[in-house]
């Protein structure tokens, strides 16, 4: 009895999650897809390393951290661009995007140096 109510509650939860998420604007959804892609790439790399072994460890590190780094930076961009965030309403989205580009540049410069 309790179990079916939990299942129903879980279903209602997922329903409300989906409907709330569908309400977010498109540009934020694009950023979310980008974050998901980056995380997926990182997971694939970790699985590959588990299969093949971690010999050039610096290459593995730089690959995984590059994916996680771009994911983190994209989340920061999303935070700054999101119109619901009161703290960032006076930051122009172009400024946020420029910061994002700069940080990515530094990240990828370091990645290319470290990959070996």
């Amino acid at each position: 009895m309790g179990r079916s109510s939990t299942v129903k509650e879980t279903q209602a939860l997922f329903q409300s999650l989906r409907s709330a998420y569908a309400a977010t604007p498109n540009n934020l959804k694009i950023i979310d897809v980008y974050v998901g892609f980056a995380v997926l790439t990182a997971v694939i790399q970790v699985v590959y390393m588990a299969v093949v072994g971690s010999f050039p460890f610096n290459s593995f590190l730089s690959g995984v951290l590059s994916c996680i780094g771009t994911a983190v930076l994209a989340v920061c961009l999303r935070i700054q661009v999101n119109k619901d965030n009161k703290e960032f309403k006076d930051v122009a989205p172009e400024r946020a995007f420029a910061d994002f580009i700069l940080c990515n540049l530094v990240l990828h410069l370091v990645i290319m140096n470290f990959m070996g």
């Binding site: 939860l13 999650l17 610096n58 590190l61 935070i79 700054q80 910061d99 700069l102 990240l107």
Partner: protein
């Protein structure tokens, strides 16, 4: 809307706004001038040793850094990265590129290159000597920026002025002290400033700069682990106290990813950035902040009822997964004997660890716990202002002020473990004292201003009472007297006495280059003891380039830098067994010591002896560490053999093992003939203040080749093996057999 009152207020309002902006501009100019003066103060207070002695590099470690910088300036950066040094740690060598923190040498090398390309002909030594004062000026400016972010420009200026003068920082950054801390403290304060700035503004640009400043800190000093553990602690504190905001995420998450990558770039750190326990805290908090961020996001888009359902679901499922992951992690970490921490970090966490397991770390005098007077000597009156600053940080508790509180608490703990970490306490103490002083002035002047306003505008009663409720206001008479008192006290005690104390500390206590010693003779004149450089120059002029010199590890860096000879062990102390070998040789009788040294191809042995002039840091006083470290690796050296009643003695009561060991013999050889003493013939040791136990002995396996003017450095040569076939001896070492023949004839020529 245009009532007569507002029409009257209109022009006065714009005039008020204009005068306010003029005052702001004026204040900005004054702040700039004060900052320039603070920089000049920070630079000049560190120049005492250059004025009193000469522009020379001090101590031991700076000589190594100087030698590395010379190599860099001569051979360029690619050779520097790939340098394998074969003139130290004799049979093993040392990979310099992979074991040195390159920040300091690269900074000085860049300054030298830039200055020389502008045709200002500064030598490498001059650049090295003056790097520390320049960067201390930069550190004061960074402290201004940091405190301005926390409390305001007034507190910033006070903190900067205090950091320019505080003796603890002066002690490690005088002109000539060319060591990692000279640039590392600037990097530390600047990294913290950028972190707080990112936290306050939420801008990714400052987050990038923060990561780059952290990279500079990793390049400069092993103390970077303090940053990478303090910032996660602060993030955790903010989350736990409910101060999570998206700015916190922007301040922390990019720093972890970029910071780990940049830290792995530095060869010294390499993969330790992801494999050692010092960094695990940052990864753990990275995961935690992502969980918290996700929780807040879902809370934002769901209704409260649905959120409760989500929480129960997540907690039940997530807890199981979490426990599994944590169990695996603990198993992996616990499998290594040191739990993944390095020896030095373990010493910081458990202060008794080093004395039990790693005597090398325990023997360094900088790693001893500080005494209470050293707190007062090093940070003076700031020790009393720090608690006031902590309270002032709570007045409005913001993210940045909670960070400063955490910083001071952790640095006080670590400074209590090792005296060299008083240096990390100094900026924190200055920041908090600046905040305390600034807040005191603010409260008192505000109460004077409010009372004056109240007296003048009687109609506007509601406004002052409202401000009175929020701000702290004291009675007028008391506040006027208090301000005057504070100003007087500040001028006389805080500034004057601190200034006098700091200048005295800089001039007398911390400016000694320790390679040149001075003392005042009876008629007031200055007597200079330049024995170390005398010995090193004798070595460089009178021995072959490939000769190996054995000494205790303190003098390794100086010997390679100034005498340019290969040494067995030096201050890097990375190989405990090798140091234990030298320690065992020094503690063994002559024959065994000769055999150990001969197996390592040593030709000369260097011993520092202070018994004639009363120099207390000589090798006999360090002998207990030689025995302990040697005994730690070679069990036939037992410390009780050298002790009489639990003490090391060198007089007639000393044990026979002590009287026969090499260190005793090399230190006291011929010391009963000292002509300087009035008690000659009796062999009186001025440091230990007794007569020595064994006198008038001869050396069988070593011969004395040089003793400096004040008998402080004594150099001995290994005698060739006696029972060799004559033909072999004649063929390979003819000059030595000639000299031994000369000895046999009786006339001793110490200059051969």
């Amino acid at each position: 809307m245009a009532s007569p009152e507002s029409a009257v207020n209109g022009p006065t309002m714009t005039a008020g706004a204009a005068s306010k902006s003029l005052r702001n501009a004026f204040g900005g100019v004054i702040a700039f001038i004060i900052l320039v003066l603070i920089g000049v103060l920070a630079f000049s207070i560190r120049l005492f040793s250059v004025i009193k002695y000469e522009s020379v590099i001090h101590e031991f470690d700076p000589y190594f850094n100087y030698r590395v910088t010379q190599f860099l300036s001569k051979n360029g950066i690619y050779d520097f990265w790939n340098w394998f040094d074969d003139r130290t740690w004799y049979p093993l060598g040392r990979v310099i590129g992979g074991t040195v923190y390159p920040g300091l040498t690269l900074t000085a090398g860049t300054i030298w290159k830039v200055v020389n390309s502008l045709n200002i002909p500064l030598s490498v030594e001059t650049v090295c000597v003056f790097t520390a004062p320049i960067f201390s000026a930069f550190a004061s400016w960074a402290a201004y920026l940091l405190t301005k972010e926390v409390k305001g420009p007034g507190a910033g200026l006070t903190a900067a002025a205090l950091l320019a003068m505080v003796p603890s920082y002066i002690s490690r950054s005088v002109a000539g002290s060319y060591d990692n801390e000279a640039v590392a403290i600037f990097a530390l304060v600047f990294t913290f400033y950028l972190y707080i700035k990112t936290l306050n503004t939420g801008s990714l640009f400052y987050a990038t700069l923060n990561a780059l400043a952290y990279f500079y800190m990793v390049c400069s000093w092993g103390g970077y682990t303090f940053i990478i553990n303090l910032i996660p602690m602060h993030v955790l504190l903010c989350i736990v106290t409910g101060r999570y905001s998206s700015r916190l995420y922007i301040a922390y998450a990019p720093l972890v990813v970029l910071g780990t990558l940049l830290a792995s770039l530095v060869p010294v750190v390499g993969f330790n950035a992801v494999l050692t326990s010092e960094h695990f805290a940052s990864f753990l908090v990275f995961i935690i902040i992502h969980v918290v961020a996700l929780a807040y996001y879902i809370k934002g888009i769901l209704s409260p009822k649905m959120f409760k359902v989500a929480v129960t679901l997540v907690v039940s499922v997530g807890l199981a997964v979490c426990c599994a992951v944590i169990a695996i992690l603990i198993a992996v970490v616990a499998s290594s004997p040191t739990k993944g921490w390095s020896g030095r970090s373990l010493t910081l966490l458990d202060p008794t660890y080093a004395s039990k397991y790693i005597p090398i770390i325990a023997s360094v005098s900088e790693h001893q716990p500080p005494t209470w007077p050293s707190y007062f000597m090093d940070i003076n009156v700031l020790a009393f202002l720090v608690p006031a600053g902590i309270i002032a940080c709570f007045m409005p508790l913001t993210d940045s002020s909670s960070f400063v509180i955490l910083y001071i608490v952790t640095s006080v703990y670590f400074s209590g473990v090792m005296v060299r970490l008083m240096l990390v306490l100094a900026p924190a103490a200055c920041i908090l004292s600046g905040i305390a002083l600034s807040e005191a002035f603010n409260v008192l002047t505000r109460s004077i201003k409010n009372r004056k306003k109240e007296k003048e505008n009687v109609e506007k009663k509601p406004t002052p009472s409202k401000t009175e409720k929020r701000l702290l206001v004291l009675p007028l008479e008391a506040s006027v007297i208090a301000v005057l008192l504070l100003v007087l006290l500040g001028a006389f005690y805080v500034v004057f006495s601190v200034q006098v104390h700091c200048v005295w500390a800089a001039a007398e206590a911390y400016s000694a280059p320790s390679i040149v010693l001075t003392s005042h003779s009876n008629d007031g004149g200055l007597h200079v003891f330049d024995d170390f450089r005398e010995a090193y120059s004798w070595l460089s002029h009178n021995t072959d380039v490939d000769d190996k010199v054995a000494s205790w590890w303190d003098y390794g860096y100086q010997t390679t830098a100034m005498a340019n000879r290969t040494v067995l062990v030096d201050n890097n102390t990375w190989n405990n067994t090798h140091i234990a070998t030298v320690g065992t040789a020094m503690s063994s009788p002559e024959k065994q010591a000769w055999e150990i040294f001969h197996s390592l191809d040593v030709k000369y042995v260097l011993v520092v002896f202070g018994g004639v002039v009363g120099y207390p840091s000589d090798d006999i006083n360090k002998f207990l560490w030689m025995v302990r470290i040697g005994g730690g690796v070679f069990p036939h050296i037992k410390e009780p053999d050298y002790l009489r009643d639990g003490q090391y003695r060198i007089d007639a009561q000393a044990t026979p093992t002590m009287l026969n060991c090499l260190m005793y013999k090399l230190s006291y050889f011929r010391s009963d003939f000292i002509p300087i003493h009035k008690t000659d013939g009796k062999g009186f040791d001025r440091v230990r203040r007794t007569e020595i136990g064994k006198k008038h002995f001869k050396l069988t396996h070593f011969e004395e080749v040089f003793t400096t003017h004040h008998w402080m450095v004594r150099i001995y040569k290994l005698k060739p093996q006696r029972n060799r076939i004559r033909g072999k001896t004649k063929k390979s070492k003819s000059s030595r057999s000639v000299s031994s023949k000369r000895d046999v004839r009786g006339k001793r020529n110490p200059w051969h």
